[in-house]
Subunit: 116 residues, 2 copies
Amino acid sequence: MPRVSSRIPGVEGCAVERTLSLIEGKWKIIVLYKLLKGTLRFNELRRLMPLVTQRMLTHQLRELEADGLIVRTVYAQVPPRVEYSLSARGRSLEPVLMAMKEWGDTNLSSQGAQAA
Amino acid sequence: MPRVSSRIPGVEGCAVERTLSLIEGKWKIIVLYKLLKGTLRFNELRRLMPLVTQRMLTHQLRELEADGLIVRTVYAQVPPRVEYSLSARGRSLEPVLMAMKEWGDTNLSSQGAQAA
DNA sequence: CATCACGGTATCCTTTTTGACACTATGGGC
DNA sequence: GCCCATAGTGTCAAAAAGGATACCGTGATG
């Protein structure tokens, strides 16, 4: 996933593209959604998303962390304890997620939408 | 690009994911952006996005059309004339695009953001 | 007669993304 | 002594996405 999709200076969509590049990735949006409601541990996330493989979840979490959208806190315990929560930056994405959710709720009603 | 990312009924993020799945794809967002300002012909789009290959542009346009976000109008002329414009559904995505643009403008200021 | 513009297709190849599966350390419970 | 849970990692392979390049028909233009 290219962190920067376009380097052409004159492209107006640049900011949008760059924003998109942070939230595309198969499970990132769900992760952000779940974390909107509060901090979660790794396996709590897994249980909430049974279809994600461990490797994928780790991978997506690492990217979200690298992009500064989530915070990873490790507690030095022996059954390891790692908590994930939104950073301020991640929380600021809420309007974007909500705009997408509203659009989806309105335009992709119950079935697969008229043109999908 | 899977048109439907998740079929799990209980996943709240579903609408968001499905919305995302319509606008991810390397050039779709730019296309939608350009079309927000008005109808464009195929080669006008190409000239506005010099780095997109013809094949890719065609491909993205076809998908946007299949998803009902844009309308393709062919005029039976001999230098062929094909116009693309947003459908009502496509135009209704404007709040989503704008939310992303605002977030990007605010959080990805000038350089590559602090954590990218 | 050759070339250009238009709006594409077709084919092949590379890169990126995703998935399957096995493996790790540690300490506690049985 | 064996298995469980936690939070991963590593390797390999498949699938998807994207890119390079060449080609198509038509009519006007030179």
